[in-house]
Symmetry: C2
Subunit: 126 residues, 2 copies
DNA sequence: CTTGCCTCTGACGTCAACGTCAGGTTCTAG
DNA sequence: CTAGAACCTGACGTTGACGTCAGAGGCAAG
């Protein structure tokens, strides 16, 4: 498929795909006229890249990780690298969970008419 | 306390604290000579700001949320706003969990000598 | 009183992941 | 064959959360 179709199917912009190639995250084959062509599994690859970006990884880190994911590289170092990033993500989940719980506490307070919030309510709806 | 002490105790830079004030996330009292002074609870406030930044909220969003957290504003809209952001964070946790699980699967594969990885291992250690 | 650290206000620099525009080529439908 | 959509390569623009530097004033210790 060409770049436009991949962009639509993977839910990213054409510009983003060219950027991924520039960062060596995503390869493409070129036709005689120079147009990029992708295989079906490129959709999956792009979505994985998006997942890793979403986890806060930089394109440099993703570039280092992807060969491990492809199992084209499998050394003690690459396994350690994968485990490292897994731990970072896990820690991020823990942090976010704490943030969510803190917001929950705030929401709880704002909904309880027994709290000091009632003063505000009275002021607003008196 | 002055800005340097707050920065150290909250684990952020002095520049960041001035930036927070500029964004109206953190107020300060000024001495006659113009120096900023903070109360003890500013440490907590800064850490909350950091948590929200860590959850991907912009300073604009944080600025809109903080009055609700302080329970200085309590309207149906502010409660909805809080619930919205809570949901965004919750969704982020779900996404991150999927990313972590995908990495776990990759790690599992790279550790199993029964997989195609053994070919790579042989190539590397033959 | 002066040395040295802390603080102040601008204001420009940075970095990543693209957005966007220019100017030109290529593919496809009719 | 031709219009219009899709594609190409530069290359400059954008945004947020600060970093960093300049120039000047403030404060505690000796």
């Amino acid at each position: 498929m060409r770049i436009g179709e991949l962009a639509e199917r993977a839910g990213v912009s054409v510009r983003a795909l060219r950027y991924y190639e520039e960062q060596e995250l995503l390869a493409s084959e070129r036709s005689a006229s120079g147009q990029r062509h992708y295989r079906e599994d490129a959709v999956d690859r792009v979505q994985l890249i998006q997942m890793l970006y979403g986890a806060g990884l930089s394109s440099k880190t993703v570039a280092e990780l992807l060969p491990c994911v492809d199992a084209k590289v499998n050394t003690p170092e690459s396994r350690a690298r994968l485990a490292d990033e897994r731990e970072r993500i896990n820690q991020q989940i823990i942090d976010l969970t704490r943030t969510r719980d803190r917001l929950d506490a705030v929401i709880e307070l704002s909904q309880s008419p027994a709290s000091g919030c009632t003063i505000v309510e009275e002021a607003l709806y008196a």
